[in-house]
């Protein structure tokens, strides 16, 4: 089954896909921005400051999703001795890190008008900052270690340590008294967010997901060409 994931086979798809993904991303983002900035209603408590949610929440969701995927792929790569899983993880990490930084910065911007402060050492914010540090450690490891074996081990170790933080981020608002409100969107039970706000939020999430897919494909293609460059040196 893993032969299906062989770089030689998937490069045919990954090399052509970015231009279509970019086109789709621009369309979905334009719809999302129109909904988020113009069409969606203001909040009865937060007024127009609520619009920051449309970039803050999708960025946070996607950074958590990418880190979970990186962990799953790294562990799978280690178990099945499949280098391509590591290559996919490495290509996912830059967009995950950028989304994490976006969540932190837009959170700070949102915090000022709603809580009266740019930063607070509250459980959710602190655990998101810790996630950014794990992302940074993961990315730096790929840069500093030359040996493949070593970098596979170290990055897998970092992701295993970091994944412990994911449920802490998710449940921090329930476990501790934090400035953050409890989750408004639940998959298993009824969401407390109104559909007029949920719709733009989902559109923006789709746009952000498309952007992370675009960056992943470009990064993955770059990594494959790097490998082929080394291959030409050996000829």
């Amino acid at each position: 089954m893993f032969k299906l994931f062989h770089p030689n086979k998937i490069f045919q798809i990954t090399s052509k896909a970015p231009k279509y993904i970019l086109f789709l991303f621009v369309i979905v983002l334009s719809v999302g921005l129109t909904e988020a900035l113009i069409l969606s209603p203001e909040d009865y408590k937060q007024s127009d400051a609520v619009r920051i949610m449309y970039v803050h929440v999708p960025a946070a969701w996607i950074s958590l999703g990418i880190f979970s995927s990186i962990t799953f792929l790294s562990i799978s790569g280690f178990i099945f001795k499949n280098k391509n899983f590591f290559l996919i993880s490495k290509s996912l990490a830059p967009s995950g890190f950028v989304f994490n930084v976006i969540a932190l910065v837009t959170g700070a911007i949102w915090g000022k008008p709603t809580w009266g402060t740019w930063w607070a050492w509250d459980a959710r914010i602190t655990s998101m900052l810790i996630l950014a540090l794990f992302y940074a450690m993961y990315l730096i490891s790929w840069r500093i270690y030359e040996s493949e074996e070593k970098v596979f081990k170290i990055t897998t170790f970092i992701t295993i340590l970091g994944i412990v933080n994911i449920p802490i981020i998710k449940y921090s608002v329930d476990w501790w008294n934090t400035l953050h409100q409890p989750a408004s969107i639940n998959i298993l039970s009824k969401s407390s967010i109104h559909s007029s706000m949920l719709f733009p939020l989902l559109i923006m999430t789709a746009a952000f997901a498309l952007f992370s897919l675009l960056i992943f494909l470009m990064k993955y293609n770059t990594e494959l060409i790097k490998i082929k460059n080394k291959g030409l040196d050996r000829l």
Binding site: P7, Q12, E42, A59, I225
Partner: protein, 75 residues
Amino acid sequence: MINELLFMNGYGIYVFSAFIFTLSSFATLYFVTKTQFVKEQNKFVAKFGSLNTDKAKSAKSQRINKEILANASNN
């Protein structure tokens, strides 16, 4: 209408800062990734060009190498 949209009941500065930061992060990440990709692709084309006929033939037998070269000529 435009003033209302920009002012946003006094929150415009926060809302637009958040959106501008997000979009500029996207643009930066996209251009950095694109530059790295083009750099590696150009390196590949240059290396391929320096191979002798036999080595070039052997390298071209791999489908992925052919794809990289085709993509480079399309860009």
